[in-house]
C-alpha cells in the first residue's frame, strides 16, 4: 500500500491525510495556535477531497455536520489554516487546497488541470520575478504562481 508522490500520480490517501493531521497538530502547538474542532475538520475536508474547494463548498460540508452554517465560520477557519501554512489559496480559482508539504516555509507554485480540477503543488526554483524585482528595487513579500492546463490523464481523455 505504498506510493505517495502527490500531484498527478497515485498515493496512499489515508496515510497522507493522517500524517498531515499530525503535522498540523505539531505546527499549531509550536505556534501556540489552537487546532480547534472546526479548524481541524476544515483541514480534514480539504485533505480528503484532495482538490481545491471553494469556501462555500467547505461551508456546506460543515453545515451538513452541524459545525457551522454561516460564511464567516468557513472563512475564519480557512484564514487560520492559510496563516499556519497548512492550506494554500488558489487565486485563479478563488479556492483553497491543503498544503502538500506542511511545515516547510514555501512560496508554492501550482498546476491546475482544467479538465479534472486537480491541483498539484510544485516548488518554484528561484523566484522567476527576482530578477525583475532586483532591477527595479521592488521588494517581494509574497508570490502567486499558478499554471493552468491539462494533466496527463486529461490530455488523452475527457476534455479535448
Amino acid at each position: 500500500m505504498p506510493s505517495a508522490p502527490l500531484g498527478f500520480s497515485q498515493h496512499d490517501h489515508a496515510h497522507c491525510v493522517k500524517s498531515a493531521i499530525i503535522s498540523a497538530e505539531d505546527i499549531c502547538t509550536k505556534n501556540n495556535a489552537q487546532f480547534t474542532p472546526v479548524r481541524r475538520r476544515v483541514f480534514e475536508i480539504l485533505l480528503e477531497s484532495h482538490t481545491a474547494m471553494g469556501a462555500y463548498d467547505v461551508l456546506s460540508r460543515l453545515d451538513a455536520e452541524g459545525l457551522g452554517s454561516k460564511p464567516p465560520v468557513a472563512y475564519r477557519a480557512l484564514s487560520f489554516l492559510v496563516d499556519q501554512g497548512l492550506v494554500h489559496r488558489i487565486e485563479r480559482l478563488n479556492a483553497f487546497v491543503a498544503c502538500a508539504t506542511p511545515g516547510a516555509h514555501h512560496d508554492p507554485a501550482f498546476m491546475i488541470c482544467r479538465g479534472c480540477g486537480t491541483v498539484a503543488e510544485a516548488q518554484t526554483g528561484s523566484g522567476p520575478l527576482s530578477q525583475s524585482a532586483l532591477a527595479t528595487g521592488f521588494e517581494i513579500e509574497q508570490t502567486v504562481i499558478e499554471a493552468e492546463g491539462l494533466c496527463p490523464e486529461c490530455q488523452s481523455g475527457p476534455t479535448s
Copy 2:
C-alpha cells in the same frame, strides 16, 4: 506636461496612451475584431488610470459617460480586451490592467505594490513551472505569476 509613474519609473503618459491605442487598432484589425466605442473607452480608461482597476470601477466610469451601467457591459469589454492581449487580469486583485507591451505574445508577470497599488508588468524568464510540468507531464496553457510587495517609493514612505 509629462511624467506619471509607469511600472516604477517615469514616462510620458500622454504618449504611451496614444501609441497604445494605435497598437490596439492594428491588433484588432489584424484579428478581424471590432474596436467598438465601449471597448475603446474601457481600454482608454485603463490606460489613463495606469493602475489595476476593478470591473466595477471601470463600470462606474462608463456609467458616468453614458456608455453603459450594467455589469455585463464592463465584463464583456474587459473580456474582449483580455482576449486580444490588450489587457491583463490580475488574479490577486480581481482587477484589470492595460498591457504594457501590446502585440507581443507573452506570459506576463506582475509586481503589485501593496503600498500604492501600482502594478508593474515584467517578463518571466522561462516558465518557473516548466520543469515541474515536464516532470509530471502537465501541459501548461496559461500561467499566472504575480508578486506582491513594496515598490521602491513605498519602502521608505507611507506603508511601513
